[in-house]
């Protein structure tokens, strides 16, 4: 183990998000004491009001960039952090709020708010990696808490984290889960979605809805053809499958546009 004189400092930052991903860290009940023993939790407002000043060894960044203020703030975090890990669908693809990227934000503001003139919002909701260099990305809505521990463990032990980039299908087959698409005709995003959730939805006989976002080299177009021909999906249904939690991820965004009518 490399010699360390003091514990590395961890900071957790929030941008436009629901807090669910950072709460996953508090959910690591069995590992939390070990995490606190190995690393100083220096800035984590959801857990403690005590804040230790930077610089930080590891910054976990939750949420997407949706305001001019956020677009500024993220650069300060990068300057103050050795390793930046974007956590969750918002931070890695723009999240559910990236649905607005397909519409005019001014129109939405006027429809929702009594005084839209007070709203200062960027046109698009974008992932952290659109703004700064990100060392690692943890996908999911929310992230898999085991991945949070894995990325910290890998950092502490100077090794590469084990984060799959292949399809959810591999997790289904390793677990012996019956394919919901082939055996039931249920449209499933598993073949184009990155593994990491232990194929949670197919294990409960539901199609994957892609909350871990596109995997490496996804073939969304031919899968969409199959949804139409074999699963009887309408263009609108196909559009909605791809335009969900990771609507802003480029392969899913592009595929959803192909099904606009």
């Amino acid at each position: 183990m490399p010699l360390r004189t003091s514990k590395p400092k961890l900071a957790v930052w929030k941008f436009s998000s629901c807090d669910g991903c950072q709460l996953s860290l508090l959910d690591c009940e069995d590992e939390l004491l070990a995490v606190a023993a190995a690393i100083e939790i220096a800035n984590f407002p959801e857990a403690s009001r005590a804040v230790v000043r930077g610089p930080y060894s590891v910054s976990l960044v939750e949420g997407s960039i949706t305001t001019p203020e956020e677009a500024e703030r993220i650069h300060k975090i990068r300057r103050n952090s050795r390793i930046v890990v974007a956590i969750g669908a918002c931070a890695t693809s723009g999240g559910l709020q990236a649905l607005r990227n397909f519409q005019d934000v001014g129109d939405l503001s006027r429809a929702v708010y009594a005084h839209p003139e007070y709203i200062e919002s960027l046109n698009n909701s974008t992932p952290i990696s659109d703004h700064i260099y990100v060392d690692h990305e943890l996908r999911g809505c929310p992230v898999n808490k085991a991945h949070l521990v894995e990325v910290l463990s890998a950092f502490l032990n100077d090794r590469k984290p084990n984060l799959p980039n292949h399809a959810v299908c591999i997790e289904c087959k390793r677990a012996g889960t019956v394919c919901v698409m082939t055996a039931h005709g249920t449209p499933c995003l598993g073949p184009v979605t990155q593994a990491g959730c232990d194929a949670l939805c197919p294990r409960y006989n539901r199609g994957c809805f892609g909350c871990f976002g596109p995997r490496e080299n996804p073939n969304t177009a031919y899968l969409a053809t199959r949804y139409r021909e074999e699963c009887g999906q309408t263009p609108d249904e196909v559009l909605r499958l791809f335009r969900g939690i990771n609507a802003g991820a480029e392969p899913f965004r592009r595929e959803s546009l192909r099904h606009e009518t």
Binding site: R159, N162, R174, G176, T182, N219, Y222
Partner: protein, 369 residues
């Protein structure tokens, strides 16, 4: 040759159970036949058949009492011996020393019920790869030792089956302790049974079944002959390996780029695919570490990752690698085809890519459905 009456199968399972075998056989789960631990024939499906096609699998009731009117689900027996998730060792810091504790090699007395002829061939292929080469996988070899196999010949081939083309079925030619053929004409439940080993012979004799008569043996022959003619698919195996060896630049591979998802389902369900990767994990304090072997696939980018990048970036290149290894270079490497004609890769491909059709397109040979 024996004749197993309707309760004979249960008697056979009872004998195996008594001898301490852990019995694995077909079960029904989530609309599919899967392989799992069974205590008795009561946990086995009965009176069902499957409809299989490219990217499609459905079950329906037959209305009779037959035991084996269906063919294969996505599960294959390889999961029992070549585990999808196998711990290899734990490591621990002990002062300044690193202690490695290998995962103990465990023998297990296993009995498999309902192994189809293509599956017997698949077990033989995996034995060759994992237990009979220069480097033996000790976990695989130990778990395969003493496996008792009750094979079932196929009288009702599935829609994606092509074992007759590959010369592996529908009748088992060896590799079993007992082989059964269900005489389905009278609603099922009666089997012509033959022993392949001395142990199989003794166990069959212990079930107190009678000898099969001429009529029953003739019926079995007719059923299996008819089955060979009812394969859902065909492939011309002769010359295939050589034709594929020269196909590297065939335009079909580029066309497959558009259709193949590179999701790896074909390799996961293939009963002979043996690729794995190892994953290391550590605890937060760095005091302990573990290495685990998990199923991998030639359809992932990491599978061909060398320094600087993946050798096979495109889906077409990955499909070419898989198909040409399976049907062509496997011969050079292991002395047989890597394909047994089970058809799982066709059924469980989410977009229904058909290996017989692709091989035909590349080689210009007759095949397909």
């Amino acid at each position: 040759m024996y004749l197993l009456e309707p309760d004979g199968l249960e008697t056979l399972l009872a004998i195996l159970r008594e001898k301490g075998y852990r019995i694995t056989g077909p079960k029904l789960r989530d609309g599919s036949v899967v392989l799992g631990t069974i205590d008795s024939t009561a946990s086995m499906p009965r009176g069902i058949r499957d409809h299989q096609g490219p990217g499609r699998y459905r079950l329906e009731e037959t209305g009779d009492d037959s035991w084996f009117s269906y063919t294969l689900g996505s599960d294959s027996w390889k999961k029992l011996f070549f585990h999808p998730n196998k711990p290899l060792f734990n490591a621990r810091r002990d002062g300044g020393l690193l202690q490695i504790e290998p995962e103990p090699v465990r023998e297990s007395l296993q009995a498999l019920i309902g192994v189809r002829p293509c599956e017997l061939q698949a077990l033989a292929v995996q034995d060759r790869v994992l237990a009979k080469g220069e480097f033996v996988d000790r976990h695989y070899a130990a778990s395969r030792k003493g496996t008792f196999i009750v094979a079932v010949n196929c009288t009702v081939p599935g829609g994606t089956c092509f074992c007759a083309s590959m010369g592996t079925g529908p009748k088992a030619s060896g590799g079993y302790d007992i082989a059964l053929t269900e005489l389905a004409a009278d609603g099922g439940g009666r089997f012509v049974a033959r022993a392949g080993t001395g142990l199989g012979e003794r166990l069959l004799a212990a079930t107190a079944c009678g000898k099969a008569d001429k009529g029953e043996i003739e019926l079995e022959r007719k059923l299996l002959e008819a089955a060979a003619g009812k394969m859902g698919r065909t492939i011309v195996a002769d010359g295939l390996a050589a034709a594929l060896a020269g196909s590297h630049d065939h335009p079909r591979w580029e066309e497959l780029e558009d259709r193949c998802l590179a999701c790896a389902n074909c390799t996961m369900v293939c009963p002979t695919c043996y690729c794995y990767t190892v994953e290391d994990s550590t605890d937060l304090s760095g005091a302990t570490a573990a290495r685990t072997r998990v199923w991998d696939s030639c359809f992932t980018a990491d599978h061909s990752y060398l320094h600087g990048g993946s050798v096979r970036e495109t889906r077409g290149a990955r499909y070419r690698q898989w198909l040409t290894h399976k049907l062509s270079t496997w011969h050079e490497q292991f002395g047989s085809s890597g394909c047994t004609g089970c058809g799982r890769c066709i059924t469980w491909c989410p977009v229904g890519i058909d290996i017989t059709e692709e091989a035909q397109a590349v080689c210009g040979t007759a095949g397909g459905s």
